[in-house]
Symmetry: C2
Subunit: 215 residues, 2 copies
């Protein structure tokens, strides 16, 4: 299904080839964690992987191409985000717990993949469709079930009909992702980590149900 892994010049990658390819991706991943995206050079990645730039170009067209690859691997892991909300209630104390769990899962995922997501965000914001698509895929794992929850509540008459479920859940998810990538900023505002999660859960609950949670 996945099609065979191929080199830039069309060869089929074997076991050894896939290993070096993966090593390059891992090294790139590390570099993104430690240095600014703008300063990540092919030659550094290659050196770190104990190989030569020419080898890098055998597997990827450029740095961007390799980043896309990493991001794709990550995107397939993001589906776990959608499971948290399955069959969960948004009413009463259970609702408050749902909001908290959702926020926790999302924040953990985002923090873990911090560096790549930063680059994906940038690419998407700059109008690159491949990055935008990928970003969407990731965010969808969160927004789709959220939107579903809101629609359900609307159907039961618990939420006003005039609100747009997709817009609300999109905004909430963007909020969570934004907060994660700028955690340090919040520290400067004197906001402690411990205060942040409940605050976000509160906002999510408010956004979804339109009501303050019962704690």
């Amino acid at each position: 299904m996945t099609g065979q892994v191929r080199t830039v010049d069309g060869r089929v990658a074997g076991r050894r080839g896939q290993a070096t390819r993966q090593k390059l991706l891992d090294c790139l991943s590390e570099m993104l964690n430690s240095s600014p995206y703008r300063d990540v050079k092919v030659i550094d990645v290659a050196r770190k992987a104990g190989t030569s730039p020419a080898t890098f170009y055998q597997y990827f067209p450029d740095v961007e191409g390799a980043v896309l690859e990493i991001a794709e691997q990550m995107a397939s892991e993001s589906s776990s985000l959608s499971e948290v909300l399955e069959g969960r209630s948004w009413v009463g104390k259970a609702g408050w717990q749902t909001a908290q769990d959702f926020v926790d899962d999302f924040l953990d995922f985002w923090k873990k993949n911090d560096a790549i997501l930063r680059v994906v965000d940038l690419g998407a914001a700059e109008g690159d469709k491949r990055f935008a698509k990928l970003r969407l895929k990731i965010l969808n794992s969160a927004t789709t079930p959220l939107t579903g929850s809101i629609k359900e509540l609307q159907a039961k008459g618990r939420v006003d009909k005039d609100i747009n479920p997709a817009a609300v859940s999109g905004a909430l998810v963007v909020m969570l992702s934004g907060v994660t990538s700028q955690l340090k900023g919040f520290q400067t505002w004197g906001v402690k980590q411990a205060d942040l999660r409940p605050t976000l859960a509160q906002l999510v609950h408010l956004g979804v149900t339109g009501k303050k949670p019962t704690k």
Copy 2:
């Protein structure tokens, strides 16, 4: 106060020098709007400004340094954001209007300075303190008065004591900025621009007051 504008090698820039310096900044600004940050090269900026790379390096240490300069100019314009909330009410219909105006102003500002803010965000997220400080300065124009509003409401007993005003306003502002830089994503979710603003205003109102607005 601002100190004289100086070249990298310490000379004082005269009238002509400041003009070319500004021209370089303008051209860089344009380039950021049209091409990915990673691909912006000194040589292109210089060419576009009708000068040579050497001239660029006379005024700025590197591309990043020049971006910081642009961002600083923008940051001083951001103070206008704090004026919208002065003396505004968060109660009843007036409150709904306040939320809408706030969202409108913020979105307009963010959209206007889209490209630079993207880079500032990236720099801050990557841990560069200069960018983080700048970003804070800009966001503070929005969060400070928002936080103030929430504190006032708390003092009047209209908002629960156990919420953290700084955390809430920070999260809301991050939400607004995130939504703006990813507008295209929302279109893909089938959310129209016209739906987005009221949705965001609603969320801001909910976050600040804990109650649904009376429209």
